[in-house]
Point group: C2
Chain length 318, copies 2
DNA sequence: TTGTAAGCGTTATCAT
DNA sequence: ATGATAACGCTTACAA
């Protein structure tokens, strides 16, 4: 008991005892067993994050942001990939809950009914639940903490950017991942904004290949069936593929075809002249999730968060 | 006790009892507490992986490979980033060991003395320790299971590829991350092979910027100080940056300058004409680590692993 | 096939 | 300021 106190409440132990305890810890190489600690205290030091894909650059930086701030506070990160499937997400959620995590982070606001019930249960036990990478103001109150931005609005922003620059025949290229709801929502917002402005909007779906290759193929296909004036993509990788293909075909950008990406990945800044795109606070969402969740665990008020709105980055391709 | 048995050794429970138990589990929403299970059994269902950087595409796919195969067997993955620092690695190792993981995966074969002692301790308790992303045959026997390839050999292979194609004035561009020992070792192997062949070898160190930008800057700098005949890079991102810059400067590739990357990331196949590079079994290392570790946990013999040797991918840039 | 008792390593609580 | 005792929820070992 004195050892436990020395480690957790040093102010409640005399200096002399503390010194002896620490010396013994050093000498014996004692490391507390966290599982036992959790079992006794009911407080875990684990945060579980469920994300569609670990290898995707979209989420990797958010995970890094989360991880950086979590480790500063002595929390460990448990990662569970869902493969962009909400069914899989429910399974993973079930598995992860067995660890009694201190907080749970899930991607997006769309879940199976079962997953939603599990999350409600988690929240009912005073464990923070955070949805990141999405937010819809209308659904607040009913839901969990949302750290992200509205993808429909982002789609609207993309369309408006193109419309403002005079393009009228527009198309959105979706990623071809059936359950990437956020990409679909951007497409919906895009289409709607084009319609409102009296433009001509279409949605295409990329093949489910490696994205640079899929972008190339998409441009190839459109060349044969007829190019719009501007093309907005679900992500920079698709857009970069299209630009590379356009360069090879001698299609001038943005003269014959304007191209807009999403994500503002490094390649966007480096590609011939620069790819116009949408900057997304990837790392910041992770950091914000960590800050929010730490505050909730400490019963502190919700911290002020930086704006997490995406913004258009204008380069040479639009 | 009957519940525990129903869940873990269903063959030891009568069908009728099992049915009743499962019905109750369903009805009550019972989920076993894994912490308590571990505490009682001494067997954890957690695998800890320590990697330099979660957001780096180098490791992300290995993590995905590990994760995919782990989850199939009901093991959870705990990730700890070390920021390319072996000091940080030791800290993380200490933290992670508090969870009594079922197995530990660390990146590379170079660790602090303290970390090495901790890993020995882990192994002494019959917990598998795997070093991935590196392997040195001479150090086997003294060490842990190594899943990866020899980076010095990879450097030699890169140099030989360039030498065979007639280039004599060669340079290797290192990544600029001080503790990326594997990139340094590739550079050493490269230099040595060039020396042996009687060529002229140099090592440059890229600025520590976003890698595409650093590759651009490196090429710019070399243009001013004098280009070699061929340039090998520590990774494809640096090489891609150099190619983009060369295109803008009108330097012909491989005519005036040959360029070789490392990693075989998607961009290598898509870049103007194609970047020659070294394919690395990123996902496969993750999968192999999982298979090795599962076999060790099951006391099965070490499984046959596919070859994890990198190979040269010849494209237009060399 | 089922059930009982003990104990895993910690922390909460209360007594000293 | 320190220590004794009883949990935490499960599994092991053994008994019925």
């Amino acid at each position: 008991m004195t050892v436990s106190r020395t480690l957790h409440r040093p102010d409640r132990v005399s200096a002399a005892t503390a010194k002896k305890v620490l010396a013994s810890i050093q000498e014996l190489g004692y490391r507390p067993n966290k599982q036992a600690g959790l079992l006794a205290s009911g407080r875990s030091q684990l945060v579980a994050a469920l994300i569609p894909n670990i290898a995707s650059p979209m989420f990797a930086e958010s995970v890094q942001g989360l991880s950086d701030h979590l480790h500063e506070s002595g929390l460990e990160l448990m990662l569970a990939p869902t493969g962009y499937s909400i069914g899989r997400e429910e399974q993973q959620l079930r598995a992860v809950m067995g660890w009694a995590p201190a907080a749970i982070v899930v991607t997006g606001r769309l879940h199976t009914a079962g997953a939603r019930a599990l999350l409600e249960e988690v929240r009912a036990s005073n464990t923070p639940v955070i949805e990141w990478w999405d937010r819809r103001d209308s659904s607040r109150g009913s839901g969990f903490a949302q750290i992200g931005f509205d993808h429909r609005d982002a789609g609207v922003m993309m369309a408006r950017h193109l419309l403002e620059r005079g393009y009228r025949k527009l198309a959105y290229v979706d990623s071809g991942v059936p359950e990437d709801f956020r990409a679909h929502e951007r497409g919906e917002g895009f289409l709607e904004a084009v319609g409102v402005a009296g433009g001509l909007g279409t949605v295409y779906v990329a093949e489910r290949l490696e994205p640079l290759a899929a972008g190339r193929r998409m441009l190839q296909a459109l060349c044969e069936s007829g190019l719009p004036e501007a093309l907005a993509f679900a992500n920079d990788q698709l857009a970069a593929g299209a630009i590379l293909q356009a360069l090879e075909l001698g299609i001038s950008i943005p003269g014959q075809l304007a191209i807009l990406g999403f994500g503002d990945f490094p390649i966007a800044a480096q590609l011939a002249g620069g790819l116009s795109t949408v900057w997304v606070p990837r790392y910041e969402m992770g950091a914000a999730a960590a800050r929010t969740l730490l505050a909730a665990l400490a019963q502190d008020p919700v911290p002020d968060l930086p704006s997490l709105e995406p913004t258009i980055v204008q380069r040479a391709s639009t």
